[in-house]
Each structure stands twice: as C-alpha cells, then as structure tokens.
C-alpha cells in the first residue's frame, strides 16, 4: 500500500486543480464535470503512431473508467483498446492509442462520479 502511494506520488505529482482552464489542455465540459487532456510528452498525434494522453478531471473525485475513439464518418474505431493508469486523484495516463487514419476522430472519455457515468466527447481533426 505504501509502495503504491509512493508510486502515485512519483508518477503523477499533484491532483488536478479545479476548475480546469485551457492551460491544462483541451477542455471538455460535462454535467458538473470537466476534463482536460493533452498528448503525453507534449508532442502531436501522428497518423499511425502510438501515443499516450494525460487526462485531468475536475472535481478530482471523478474516476476515468474508459477511453475510446472513433471515426464517425468511417464508422469505425481504433484497432486498440487503451489502458488507464492512475497518477493522482483526478489525473490519469492513457496508453495504447493509435489513430491510423487522417480525418475526423471523436475522442470519448467515460467518467464516473456520484453514482453516475458520463461520456464526454470531443471532435479531433487529425491531418
């Protein structure tokens, strides 16, 4: 237990600040819930290349349960199922994403809070 707590502290630093601002990443507003996401490492998403996301939630009592992405115009999603690593309360790293085509993607984040799950979506144009 102590080892786990230490790992969280080393990997993630502080919990997410509230409210989130554009400085925290790309914002998605939910019902009494905000998330902000960035590409881990500060790079850009490239077609066909693996990438990771860092996600913050406000309030930090929310739990990120699933991440997915689809191309609505093509009616297909990723060939990969991402995994989620908790960094700190309200902060996660999402691994195993590959967007294999240029065009319109829709990122979907499932967050659970106060007995309710919300899916927060955002369109991303990958060129």
């Amino acid at each position: 237990m102590k080892v786990g707590a230490l790992a969280l502290a080393l990997a993630g630093g502080a919990a997410a600040a509230c409210p989130l601002t554009p400085d925290d990443g790309r914002l998605i507003e939910g019902d009494a819930l905000q998330v902000a996401w960035t590409v881990a490492g500060g790079g850009a998403i490239e077609v066909g290349q693996p990438f990771e996301l860092e996600v913050r939630a406000c309030p930090d009592t929310a739990e990120l349960r699933a991440v997915d992405a689809t191309m609505p115009a093509h009616r297909h999603g990723m060939n990969y199922r991402p995994s989620i690593v908790a960094l700190a309360p309200g902060r996660w790293r999402v691994q195993g994403l590959i967007w294999h085509m240029r065009g319109g993607w829709e990122l979907a984040l499932d967050l659970h809070r106060a007995g309710r799950t919300q899916t927060l979506r955002q369109a991303v144009d990958l060129q």
């Binding site: 490239e46 297909h76 691994q95 590959i98 240029r102």
Partner: protein, 401 residues
Amino acid sequence: MIRGAAAALLALAASVAAALDFDPAERAAILSHGPWPPAPTADTSNRVAGHAAAIALGARLFFDGRLSADGRVSCASCHDPARHFQDGRATAVGRAVGTRNTPSVIDSGGQRWYGWDGASDSLWAASLRAMMQPGEMGGTPATAAALVRGDPTVREAYRATFGAPGADDERVQVDLAKALAAWLTTRVSPRTAFDDFRDAMERGDEAAAARYPEAAQRGLRLFVGEARCNTCHAGPRFSNGEFADIGLPFFLPGGGVDPGRHAGLRALKGNPFNRLGRFADDGGAGAVATRHVQAEHRNFGEFKVPTLRGLAHTAPYMHHGRLPALDDVLRHYNLIDEERLHADGARLLRPLGLSAAQLADLRAFLLSLSEPLPSQATPGAPHVGAKGGPGGGASPSGPAR
C-alpha cells in the same frame, strides 16, 4: 554572355512555372511523407539490434539454406536482393507453394506488424516464423543449433554476437532470428525523385521542385486529394502500418479462404515468440501495440497496408499477387466493387472514377516512389543502402545456398 544569361533566366522561369501551386493543406500532406530515410528506431526487444557482429552474422544467415529443413531454402530464395528483396512471383515458393505474395523486406525495420496478416510483432519474430513455417523454410530449433555447432565460421560469428551457444536449441534459433533482424534493419531503400521534390518543397527551393515531372506532381495532387490514397498510405513509408479490406476476393485457389488479419491476430496472441513472451529482451516494455491490440469482426479479409516505396520493382501486387501490373492496381481502385467491401459499414473506399489522363498522372507519381534497380541505374550508383551511407554496413554477400 548576355544572351547566355537571358537563356538561363528563361530556362529558370520555365522550370519554376513547371512547379504546381499546391495549397497549404496539400503542402502539409505532401510534407508528411518525409523526410526519407526516417530516423532509425531501436527494437528494444532485440538486444543485438544495431550491433556490428549481429549485422554481419545476419547478412551471412540470410543467404544460408542450412536454416531450412532440407538445406535448400534460404531467406534470399524468396527475398531476392536483385528483385528488391522479393521474388516476382504471384505467391511465394519455399518448400511448398504459398498462398500469399512475398513482400519486400527492404525498409522492414521499425514496423509495428509484420506479414500480410500481422501475425508477428517484431522483425525477429517474423524472421523466425519464416524459418519455421513448414511451407517456407521448415526449420527447427535443432536445424538452427546444428548449423551453429557444426560450422566453425558460424559458431564463431554466433559466439562473437551472443556468447557461447548454450544447450537450449530454441534459444539459439531465436538468436539467429535476431541476428537476421539486425541485418535486415540496415536494408533501407534509397531516396527517390519524390523525396527530392518533397525536400525541395520544404526548403522553398522552387527551382529544384520544378525538376519533378509535372505528371508526377499532378498524380501527387490526386494522391493526397481527390483519390485520398494517403488515408491509408500515410507517412514516409506510405503505409499507416495497419490493415484494410480493399474489396479483393479472399477465396483461395483450390478451396478455403484467407481470413487475413483475423487469423493473424489469433496467431499473434498465441505466439510464444511475441513481444510479451520470454524471448523479448525488454521484458515486454516495448510491447505497447501487442498489449492493446483488439480483435474485431471486421478484421476478416483485412490485410496489411503495404508500403508504396519501390513498388515499380515489386509486381505482381496485392496479398494474393493476382494483379500482374500497376495498371491493374489502378484499375481495381478506379472501378472498385463496393459490394465486395464487407467491413462493418466503413465507408472508406469508393470507385475513384478517374479519367485515363488522371490515371496516367497517378501512375507517374507512384513510379516516382521507386529508385532505379542496379541494372537500370548509372553504373556505380547506390541501390539498397545501409543506414549511414549507401552500401555501408555488412555486405549482403554470404555463403552460397
């Protein structure tokens, strides 16, 4: 003097005028196909990747038929260096006639999946698969170990790379596959006319860009625009590294079907030599794709999106090798039968409906992605070069088959 300068200016003006006026979106799309060659990426699952001794051993093994069951089939039997490291046949002929076209192994380093179905997640695992498949080389751990223990030259090269061979024959065979992968990673295709154009565009050198034939430029505009070829043929490799159903029949001659990626994923997950297995030298740390890839129904009939580099030398085409010429490929996409596309409604492909002139332009562009083969090139010019310089690294010459 003045007349000469004027002529030069006129020539310059004419050449500048020959460069098409690509819009910003087109320019961004074109620039995304370079630079070439890309920066090398290390295969962390192969502890001898990049090691000179491993590269030298791999170069020798590639031409050595003794890795096969009957001593007669080497890697080079199908991946012929004189043919852009493929064989020119519709389907491979190893110890038996296969059902899929032999892909070139140039530029094979740094990919995510290997084989038309992506059944391997590393170059060494793909090499091992070819060594062991009964219809390809049909080798066994004992075959590999006998080569190492029985040939003093190979044994010394093995020892210089991996240390003294242990009693575990399977480990010895995997090591040889890793040496093969180390050498193959050094096989990188040379720059092409397209690469020169792309780089000239990036640095704003319009005169240099204008040397790229206008037909190829028009074809390039189609490629990144109306024809949307770059949806899948993306990046410097002209492949997104994933899999697609392009409406080709997947029935096999003589009966049966080729399920493509659907079966490839099953083979990958059950393969003890994948990057999550005990032979991966990084303990699985680099197996991000293998850990996260998921099977879908739509994988049935999907095959890997091939690179387009060198395609002038790699006919016949497609996973089954049934399209003899590049014009057949263009015709396939121009008239694609949407009824054959059985994916879950993915509306990616539609008949291109290009005119004959447009098809000729697209063809001109595609051919500009290939370098001349040695027989077509200026004497002494490089063909397949190693990273760090043409002809560098280990010599491809090795023991006779």
